[in-house]
């Protein structure tokens, strides 16, 4: 909220609008000179509106300018690989390092299917089920994987060794059906091959 205050400087009265904004852990008081006479109620409302708009504009510009130009996806992928999820500690550290709010990092990160806050298994098995793989029997591969691991899609084994996921096309339509285990491509998957891989 901004408020009007009469300030006495060298015996004269001046009117100012004040507004406090928070910048990280600190507070900053912003002010705007109004005039020597007290504005009417209507005028005051309008002045306050203008003042707030100015401040918001300045803050927005500030945010835009301060935005780090380092892309965080690489760091986040590393973290995901190391811990199987995005732990709060790690995200907080990253947030400090690149001066980007934690909430914004999570906001961006949770958009992507490869990043998440829920811990995944040590080995993530992704089975492609896009049309070309589907036409080449990806559902059989999926069923077999479910049977071997004893889990459904988007679940992890109890020992935390495996997670099973479906993935959109991974660009191996010429060697379908294809799967990905920890980012490594495996093409022309058969039931026997899968059993060998998931031992």
């Amino acid at each position: 909220m901004s408020y009007l205050k009469k300030v006495n400087i060298k015996g004269n009265d001046y009117f100012y609008l004040f507004h406090t904004v928070r910048e990280g852990d600190k507070f900053r008081k912003l002010s705007k000179y109004i005039g020597k006479e007290e504005p009417s109620k209507e005028e005051l409302e309008k002045l306050k509106e203008d003042f707030i708009r100015d401040i918001q504009g300045k803050i927005l510009v500030g945010i835009m300018e301060e935005k780090p130009r380092v892309n965080i996806l690489g760091d986040l992928r590393e973290m995901q690989k190391k811990y199987g999820c995005l732990p709060e500690d790690g995200v907080r550290k990253l947030s400090k390092k690149i001066k980007m709010p934690v909430i914004e990092i999570y906001s961006a990160a949770t958009f992507y299917s490869m990043l998440g806050v829920r811990k995944k298994g040590k080995n993530v098995v992704r089975i492609c089920n896009s049309p070309s793989c589907y036409l080449n029997g990806s559902l059989n591969v999926l069923e077999e994987a479910k049977k071997i691991l004893g889990i459904d899609v988007d679940e992890s084994t109890k020992d935390g060794k495996f997670s099973l996921e479906l993935t959109s096309c991974i660009g191996c339509c010429d060697k379908a059906p294809a799967i990905m285990i920890n980012g490594e491509l495996i093409t022309g998957v058969t039931k026997a091959k899968l059993r060998e891989l998931l031992r």
């Binding site: 996806l73 690489g74 660009g171 990905m180």
Partner: protein
């Protein structure tokens, strides 16, 4: 394959002699069009960006190849990354940019190391001061959309935004930006150096019910029968143009070009052809593709986010034999509403497959 011929920085040298304006003119004259699917003149895009006034400009190479059935960019990045990087340097030179990004899809992680090595080598050879960074995605189909790529590089959720403003006016970090597909950039040096270069030669990704799937270099305007022969496709019922392009019934005399495909209500897009044999039910495939779009809808706009859930539900209802004519009519209407009201290219094309399947293979839905 022509696209895999290395130009060994000859184009870069030629461009440095020609200057930016004449290079852009040359590309416009050669008629190089974008290979991502929209077929916009590359030279014109560069010209817009060149003319835009700004202290900073950017080039982005779109290597987020996510369309099902498309794997041509992977082939180029595996076998001829040199040309792509040369293309990026030429683009940067033409629009006066100092920083370029390659947005590589997360699933292509194994290409990153090789790509970075090649970048280093090419930059050393050219003694160029342009910076080229590889940024990896993390699994989002929508990040193939140019405005979504920008959001993703700016550390925001990969939501697309409404155009205009187009990236050449206001792109990455609010600055003018050129975004080109891998295949387009790989073609840039060839178009500049090679006298016999023509815009009609494309990379086709052929897959599905075929004996010899793969990437082939085929002229636009080739008959479908010939393409089927190349791929070793027999007893074909339908042809899908990726997931978002929709389908057409197979006809060996059909001439494959963007205009002809468009006349059939489908979209050629990035030249990905998925052949579907006669023993398949189009309904099953429709369910598969609907699952894909339900998963990949980014959730920003309602028609696509909610609509795709209901499209899938209706298709599953039909599959269970519980649907009637009314449901079919509803499915069609819903598909049209999504197409007409969604915000981005993905949303507007995500029901193409339903509409074309209902048009040509309605029998399979009964």
């Amino acid at each position: 394959m022509k696209i895999l011929q290395k130009t060994n920085l000859e184009a870069w040298k030629k461009v440095n002699g020609l200057g930016a304006d004449r290079t852009i003119e040359l590309l416009k004259k050669k008629g190089l069009t974008g290979r991502g699917g929209a077929c916009f003149l590359t030279g014109l895009k560069w010209e817009f960006t060149r003319k835009a006034k700004s202290d900073e400009k950017f080039v982005i190479c779109n290597a987020d190849e996510g369309e099902p059935g498309t794997f041509k960019d992977k082939l180029i990045l595996e076998n001829n990354p040199e040309n792509v990087i040369e293309g990026i340097l030429i683009a940067s030179y033409c629009i006066d940019s100092k920083q370029a990004y390659i947005y590589l899809r997360g699933e292509y992680h194994y290409l990153k190391e090789r790509l970075e090595k090649t970048i280093k080598k090419v930059l050393e050879d050219t003694k160029s001061e342009i910076k080229v960074d590889v940024i990896e995605g993390a699994g989002a189909y929508i990040c193939g959309d140019e405005t979504a790529i920008i959001a993703s590089i700016e550390n925001r959720r990969g939501y697309p935004h409404f155009k205009p403003p187009y990236p050449p006016q206001k792109g990455l970090f609010g600055k003018p930006t050129v975004i080109n597909n891998v295949e387009t950039l790989a073609n840039v040096p060839l178009a500049i150096v090679d006298k016999d270069w023509g815009d009609n030669l494309r990379l086709f990704s052929l897959s599905g019910d075929v004996a010899k799937p793969g990437v082939y270099e085929i002229e636009i305007g080739t008959k479908l029968g010939e393409i089927a022969k190349i791929a070793g496709a027999k007893d074909i019922k339908a042809l899908y143009f990726g997931a978002s392009g929709g389908c057409i019934p197979y006809n060996s005399n059909f001439v494959v070009s963007a205009d002809h495909v468009c006349k059939e209500d489908a979209m050629l897009g990035a030249c990905s052809l998925i052949f579907v044999s006669k023993k398949r039910s189009i309904l099953d495939l429709a369910i598969n593709i609907a699952q894909f779009f339900k998963h990949e809808s980014c959730g920003k706009c309602t028609p696509c986010r909610e609509g795709n859930v209901h499209v899938l539900r209706l298709l599953e209802k039909i599959k269970l034999g519980e649907a009637n004519e009314k449901d079919l009519a509803l499915l069609e209407k819903l598909s049209i509403v999504i197409r007409d009201t969604a915000l981005c290219g993905l949303g507007q094309s995500c029901t193409n497959h339903v509409l074309t399947a209902l048009k040509y293979f309605r029998k399979d839905f009964k």
